[in-house]
């Protein structure tokens, strides 16, 4: 007799499925099971506790079912439980135990949620505050400093935070609903047009973590990424100071030409570079662009080759994004690449 092929496939499917799942567990830069902050830690704990509990319940259920089948087959119809036993089974197995387990999970959830929500204490307005504004398909980032408004600045797609202290994010959207998610640090929070949402998170370890828009927002939703770079306090302060500097007036002929190419070909109609006449905020702010690690909202490493390809044909890299291709002479393109990468 040949075993049914479908039945034979089941163990293989299980094996492959488990291996795939095992692949999810890692120390990746976008991994909720590799927590790098107190909140992600609690979320991961919750995940493991509820998974373990569900596994135990499932195994007990399977054992009971197996026992019933075995006993039923052995004794046939003559094997009915006395009514009292049956009633007990229903009351305990169907009512008491599930109620206790579910209530326990509920309490655990509420406690976890409270702990997630109370990070930063009551004086949240005093926390370092970063505004994140979602756009199709990139992230505008505004660093706030209520005491010194001249120390505020704009950047895009790359968020630097200091390690070891809570940071407050104010989330809003310019167009459709997006969702801000850095799995290594916290859960998701939506960015909703016309609303301000708040999220406080903390990174306990320095590192670069990847975030992702987690609410479908249009054709390039999947390529709406960002980086969160957690760094020690002095490095963070130095980075902030750097962002406040205006772009230098380059004397090198190639860089000066790059600057002119940027200003004369309409780049400044959408983009801004601090210290130049380009001041628009329709598209990512390009101040100190040469310091960024990625371009096109986390989609490509910020290298000369990728930047050239992106400027020459943005629709080839991210079809449906709002950046048009601009026809540039090849030498102008080279000068522009040099200029943008000299902003560092």
């Amino acid at each position: 007799m040949r075993a049914c092929p479908r039945r034979r496939a089941v163990p293989w499917l299980l094996l492959v499925g488990c291996s795939l799942l095992a692949g999810c567990v890692g120390t990746g830069a976008q991994d909720m099971l590799a927590p790098r902050g107190p909140q992600a830690q609690r979320i991961a704990e919750w995940f493991w506790v509820s998974t373990a509990l569900a596994t135990v319940i499932f195994l007990v259920y399977c054992a009971l079912l197996g026992y019933a089948l075995w006993r039923g087959r052995r004794n046939g119809d003559a094997n009915e439980l006395p009514p009292r036993h049956g009633q007990n089974l229903v009351v305990w197995g169907g009512l008491v135990v599930p109620t206790v387990v579910l209530l326990g999970l509920l309490v655990y959830s509420v406690v976890t949620d409270r702990r997630l929500a109370t990070l930063g204490g009551d004086s949240r307005a005093d926390l370092l505050t970063i505004e994140v504004i979602g756009h199709q398909f990139w992230w505008e980032v505004r660093y706030r400093d209520p005491g010194n408004p001249w120390r505020e600045f704009l950047t895009a797609n790359e968020i630097h935070i200091p390690v070891g202290r809570p940071v407050r994010f104010i989330l809003q959207s310019r167009d459709v609903i997006h969702s801000f998610w850095v799995p290594n640090l916290h859960g998701k929070t939506d960015l909703i047009p016309g609303r301000l949402n708040q999220l406080v998170l903390q990174a306990d370890h320095a590192g670069t973590y990847r975030g992702q828009c987690a609410e479908f927002c249009g054709i390039q939703h999947a390529k709406m990424l960002f980086l969160v770079i957690a760094q020690p306090e002095p490095e963070f302060a130095a980075w902030w100071d750097r962002q406040l500097q205006p772009a230098p007036a380059f004397t090198d002929p190639v860089l000066a030409r790059g600057h002119d190419v940027f200003m004369q070909n309409g780049c400044g109609i959408c983009h801004a570079i601090r210290g130049t006449e380009a001041r628009a905020s329709v598209a990512p702010n390009l101040s100190w662009f040469g310091l960024r690690r990625t371009l096109a909202a986390g989609v490509r490493p910020n290298t000369r080759g990728h930047l050239g390809g992106w400027i020459a044909d943005p629709q080839g890299v991210k079809p449906g994004n709002f950046m048009p291709a601009i026809s540039l002479e090849s030498e102008d393109l080279q000068a522009l690449l040099s200029y943008l990468h000299a902003l560092r």
């Binding site: 290298t303 080759g305 930047l307 050239g308 890299v317």
Partner: protein, 158 residues
């Protein structure tokens, strides 16, 4: 023709043994026509072979020393090649900013300047602005070793 009917004709047993074509009767020759058909078939086959167009393009197999084409994909991705060129075999490399690299092994010139030889290609990949000043292709920062792997891969494209 010292062949008898019996020799030319296969026995029933042989026919059963020799598969479908034989069973269809192809080899059930008769005496004199047997040899004639053989020669006719040979002539026909020879005539047919001359119909197959010889490959007049003699593609030289270019060896790139100390290179591993399998490592090229990582370099093609990380230096931005894929954002400007169509590169067969590399997923997502479908942009027409620069020339498509299809059938690279058959190209005669690199950037319209240098003969398409491995050493020239590596030089061009590492520093296109030296080979062709003002070209839209930027110096991507690729190392000579990585360029070697990329060259080896490109020469597999026929």
């Amino acid at each position: 023709m010292g062949m008898t009917n019996d020799e030319c004709r296969m026995t029933k047993e042989q026919r059963v043994r020799t598969g479908a074509a034989h069973r269809a009767g192809v080899l059930r020759f008769r005496h004199s026509s047997c040899v004639m058909r053989h020669s006719a078939l040979t002539v026909l086959l020879l005539t047919l072979t001359s119909c197959i167009e010889p490959n007049i393009r003699t593609v030289r197999h270019r060896e790139v020393a100390a290179a591993e084409p399998a490592r090229a994909e990582a370099a093609l991705r990380s230096y931005g090649c894929i954002d400007c060129h169509v590169i067969p075999g590399i997923r997502g490399a479908n942009s027409f900013v620069g020339p498509p690299l299809t059938s690279w092994a058959e190209r005669r010139y690199i950037a319209g300047r240098l003969p398409n030889e491995p050493e020239h290609l590596i030089t061009f990949l590492v520093n296109p602005q030296v080979v062709k000043p003002g070209s839209a292709m930027p110096a991507t920062g690729i190392s000579p070793e990585e360029a070697r792997d990329v060259a080896a891969y490109l020469y597999t494209l026929r």
